[in-house]
Symmetry: C2
Subunit: 684 residues, 2 copies
């Protein structure tokens, strides 16, 4: 579409404004005021020291009011759901243990109380939760059930005689596991268990359960274990909880979606048990949104470090020259860093859209008291799941790449990357395992949002495949008119359209998703018609195809968000730069799946080669703007905690000196132009 | 070639024998006798505790005689170069800090003394090095120069008046960095620096330099720093060394390849400075071979854990059934684990070949005193570099995948995977950065081994491109006759050959390498003929292509080694199983690069789709043999240190109980066949 050269003088501040978006004030506040050195990871501290520091900092964050934006105004919050997740995203530039601890206390524990509890329960507990006077846990996962939480084994059985529930862990695999805040701080937990009353199981519900007394000792019947050291997140006290017939008073049930009367009669406004359970889970979407956003922050910080290091690190002299090459000038180094940077921008725009959607949906229901718009809610959950997958997988891959791009320096804790890697590593499997979430996204695509609720119960039956919507209609994201216009403008013979045509790029993403989805439906339907095929095999034989479909869907959503972000950029120079970066995201994503387009006749071999050449051309064009692109993340220097970025006078002088002198006392004359001249790549 | 079904009763012991190979006795000895619990990582220990334990264990290993197999018999070794790297590979199943410490002391420090030093130096120091009485460092890398070590800035200037060298660190970027054994234990270091005498720089040489006195205090003029905590390897005391005009007696120069007379006259049997330097480096190839082998051990252990866990972990019920699915039964889980397992086998066979080659080359020179066969030596170095890249990249990707495949359990240190990930993470960038090593492999391919030495000096000149060998001849590995026969048997119209035909697979690998290499040469030549193109840009614009070529070369070498390994397997059942696993390695490797074959007309779209279907078919067929395949690694239970694999009665009962009971007190009847039935994937 455009081959406008990028103006060298793009002001990173202008780019930053574009990125900062609707909650710019929350970001600004954090950058300016979140400056306690104890908020940063301390290299070499023990687990116990890390836990103590993180507890102290959590209290401090509570006092700052920064992490409770999402709670109701009447309890001292701001009713600002979007602000609360943006705030967590900013905390995530600091020690990620603090982000996770924050997410557990105010996102999961506090969020469950807020969204599943009653007014009476809010009155009694919410202020103490917000102030961290009452540290709490979100006790859902069990050792034996993490993904399939509808099948939790913990039971909570009502007895009208005592007006209490009997909370019980029937065997070791049913113990609550990996529970944040449990090993050290938690005084209360929101415990998820099967609600049984009058001999009937009504499915999973949640209770407020005291787990420690004021002296920090476990409550009677509660056994608390410690998950011990982990790969990362040393400051988070993950633990295990078991319950031996613990008596829980009737009014501790978080009963917004299901109530038990004194005599044990169960009532709920949602009759279907599965639908009720997923409605309850659905209100907790903020957790997934926060993890995605925080993964984005960690990725930005890793790229900030690797890009700046790559801009001063030199290795190997150019042929016939004394001066050594800056490693950002090597093609393969650009190939590593720039597509990752482009995708980070793309995901940032998609995350921004998601947060706005979440804010609007949650504000309507929880602030303005409107009915849940089920379609909007399902779409929100699907987007949150999909983007959580994309952000966390990207974080894992990109932080790893940045570590390697910094060589030996990247392996030292003092340079931050080891912490970023270790701390974020669990993001791909907590708050929903990525593979399971991809399947969730795929399910949404297969049934279509509109009738998701109606057909949920039918998923186990083979028949569902035959009933499935034949015509697949892609949901458009924001800027749908713009995107439709761009796509429509592409001529039919699209193999002659320039690859920088945004409409062509969009059309390729769209075609791939639609074709992949239709293929999956066709295969499922064929399996359903195959005699003697076990229902499990019908799905399992297509599982890889189904997950790929979800992946292509997410990539399209992300591209559309990037396109919309470029479109609303007003500054012309910034717009040209973002436009080129968007080209790189689009084309490097297509390049990674080149085989698919070749297989499906949407790229000729010649076009496929051109695609690679175009990506190479784009990284060359973007090379001069790498620093601008990380500057725009506006990560304050006091958050970075990476020794290689510090302006030590000694270090800088040494770097300068090293460049200046070709080689100390080189009298031999046989050194220049040697075998190593082709040994030109980056690394330590 | 074969579609023989695999017999279910393959004996893992038979497979193990095939894998154990020539140094089976070394492996057996380690499995049976290396059983000190302190050899395993301790979860949650401090860096200081880890360092102390690893030092203790290093001493113990020295006493066992296990790590000094490679030293000369006259000093108490075995002259068994292959045995020594096999021994390190076995140590690597224990705490990897011990492996690295071992590698530093006996591989790098001891190896440099052995291979670069004189008889007199051996007599004086070798026994103390072998016994760990004299802990030492290999001080090559500088903060500013890690990859381009020919450009080290440390100088060592001879003064005939004092009969001493003056060893000096001219500025901070020239300090030695990341040096193992430096921060705590090292008493001596092999220091690499520019040798200057009579005003002439003779290039990089190595000296034995005392760095601490018997009380552990730094020697005069030596400054020792600590690299502090790292991502992993807490037991290795990496540090920094700077020298302020340290006086080093003349006889401390390791002078096998270059000597300085009393008057300062420099002599060497190798006149060309670059060639001399690379000859010296070449003798140290054992380090790279050991890192590759150790990466293989860590990968095997991670797979052992993930495969066994996946075989008992259940999540989500099949439609219409109570019993939950074992996650190894999910297609996408098989897709994650099995190709990784196949590649691990492939790399094991390739590593075995490499160790044999290394042993034979080094034994000829260092035991039997033969002249260096330069072609054999260059080929060995290229293989070692290529396989180090392949093994370590595979370790990084596979251990990450295994961590994720174990969900939350995989994030806990008690389950070993976090240590495996963190400890091996540096393998991709130390002992040669993988990107730099790929370039080294590519350089070998571009010039051909035969004239590598002759043309080395010409590499800086543009002219070299025009002189390059036009006809690319692929080097054959072991079993070359067999492989040639298989390839020759493939008919010309190879798009009709079944994909399980081994000859077709080999031919595809071979075609890709040859075509890619020829393309790179063509592009380099074109650049050389382009007026005004800077020499750096001539190479840089093709850098991605050149590295890809190296990658395809390594993959072919590895496939050929696997094919040879299958061929020499005598047990028929084992052979059939290995054959199928070899199919999976070949086809999943081709699948990963499907786009290339489509672009180059070697796969039709229909064949490309068939390729994916065939890989799916292979993982299904291999599913029942997953446990056998990890059993054959024969990793003793006492080395695993993973809580999830332990046979705790409580845990196993709970697992069994969980499977037996569909759901505690399920009276509602609305639970089975619910929305989650398609939510079938693995994860926590």
């Amino acid at each position: 579409m455009t081959s406008t050269p990028v103006n060298a003088s793009v002001d990173p501040k202008v780019l930053q404004e574009v990125l900062d978006g609707r909650w710019a004030h929350v970001r600004r506040d954090a950058r300016e005021n979140l400056d306690d050195p104890e908020m940063l990871p301390v290299y070499g501290e023990t687990m116990q020291e890390a836990r103590d520091r993180v507890t102290r900092m959590s209290k401090k964050l509570a006092d700052s009011g920064r992490v409770v934006l999402g709670f109701p105004k009447e309890y001292g919050g701001q009713d600002d759901s979007g602000g609360s997740v943006t705030s967590i995203e900013m905390v995530a530039f600091n020690d990620l243990s603090i982000m996770v601890k924050t997410g557990v206390q105010w996102g999961l524990f506090g969020g469950a109380l807020q969204l599943l509890g009653s007014k009476r329960q809010h009155d009694e507990y919410l202020r103490d939760v917000m102030s961290f006077e009452l540290p709490g846990c979100f006790a859902m996962t069990e050792t034996g059930h993490g993904s399939d939480v509808q099948q939790l084994r913990t039971t909570c059985t009502y007895d009208p005689a005592t007006q209490c529930f009997d909370l019980h862990t029937p065997h070791q695999a049913a113990r609550k596991d990996y529970i944040g805040n449990a090993a050290k701080d938690g005084r209360m937990a929101v415990v998820f268990a099967q609600l049984i009353s009058q001999g009937t199981n009504h499915g999973v519900h949640a209770w407020l359960v005291p787990i420690r007394d004021e002296h920090g000792n476990p409550m009677p019947g509660v056994t608390i274990g410690d998950d011990g050291p982990k790969a990362g997140l040393p400051g988070v006290d993950n633990g295990r909880l078991s319950f031996d017939h613990v008596q829980v008073p009737r009014d501790m049930l978080l009963d917004r979606y299901g109530q038990v009367a004194e005599d044990g009669t169960y009532t709920s406004s949602i009759e279907n048990e599965t639908r009720r359970f997923f409605t309850m889970l659905g209100t907790l979407v903020r957790g997934r949104v926060s993890v995605g956003g925080s993964a984005g922050s960690a990725t930005k910080l890793a790229l900030d470090i690797a890009v700046r290091y790559g801009d001063v690190r030199r290795q190997f002299a150019a042929p016939g020259e004394d001066r050594e090459i800056v490693i950002n000038d090597y093609l393969v180094h650009q190939r590593k860093l720039l597509p990752a940077l482009a995708k980070t921008y793309a995901l940032h725009f998609a995350q921004g859209e998601l947060v706005e959607t979440m804010h609007d949906v949650q504000t309507a229901v929880h602030v303005h008291g409107q009915e849940i718009d089920e379609q909007a809610q399902r779409e929100l959950e699907s987007r949150a799941a999909g983007l959580k997958v994309a952000q966390t997988a990207h974080a894992t891959a990109t932080i790893q790449m940045c570590r390697e791009a910094c060589g030996g320096a990247g392996y030292l804790q003092e340079n931050r990357l080891p912490h970023l890697k270790a701390d974020t590593d669990v993001f791909t499997t907590f708050e929903g395992d990525n593979t399971v979430l991809l399947q969730l996204v795929a399910k949404g695509l297969l049934t279509g949002y509109r009738d998701a609720f109606g057909s949920l119960d039918g998923w186990g039956r083979v028949g569902f495949v035959a009933d499935m919507v034949r015509e697949t209609v892609l949901e458009r994201t924001a800027a749908r008119a713009l995107i439709q216009r761009l796509v429509d403008a592409v001529p039919g013979r699209d193999d002659e359209v320039p690859m920088l045509d945004r409409g062509w790029q969009l059309k390729m993403f769209e075609f791939r998703e639609k074709h992949s989805l239709e293929g999956a439906i066709r295969r499922l339907r064929k399996n359903a018609g195959t005699d003697g095929m076990a229902p499990f095999d019908m799905f399992n034989s297509v599982q890889d195809h189904v997950l790929t479909t979800a992946q292509t869907h997410i990539e399209r959503i992300v591209l559309e968000a990037f396109v919309a972000g470029v479109d609303r950029t007003e500054d012309e120079a910034a717009k040209v730069l973002l436009d080129k970066l968007c080209d790189l995201y689009a084309l490097s994503t297509l390049e990674a799946d080149k085989a698919w387009f070749l297989e499906h006749g949407r790229l000729t071999p010649a076009r496929a080669k051109l695609l690679t050449a175009t990506v190479n051309q784009l990284v060359r064009e973007l090379r001069p703007h790498m620093i601008t692109l990380v500057d725009a993340f506006a990560i304050p220097a006091h958050w970075k905690a990476a020794a290689i970025l510090e302006e030590e006078p000694g270090r800088q002088e040494a770097m300068a000196a090293r460049d200046a002198e070709p080689r100390a006392q080189n009298g031999g004359g046989t050194v220049e132009g040697t075998a190593t001249d082709l040994d030109v790549p980056p690394g330590q």
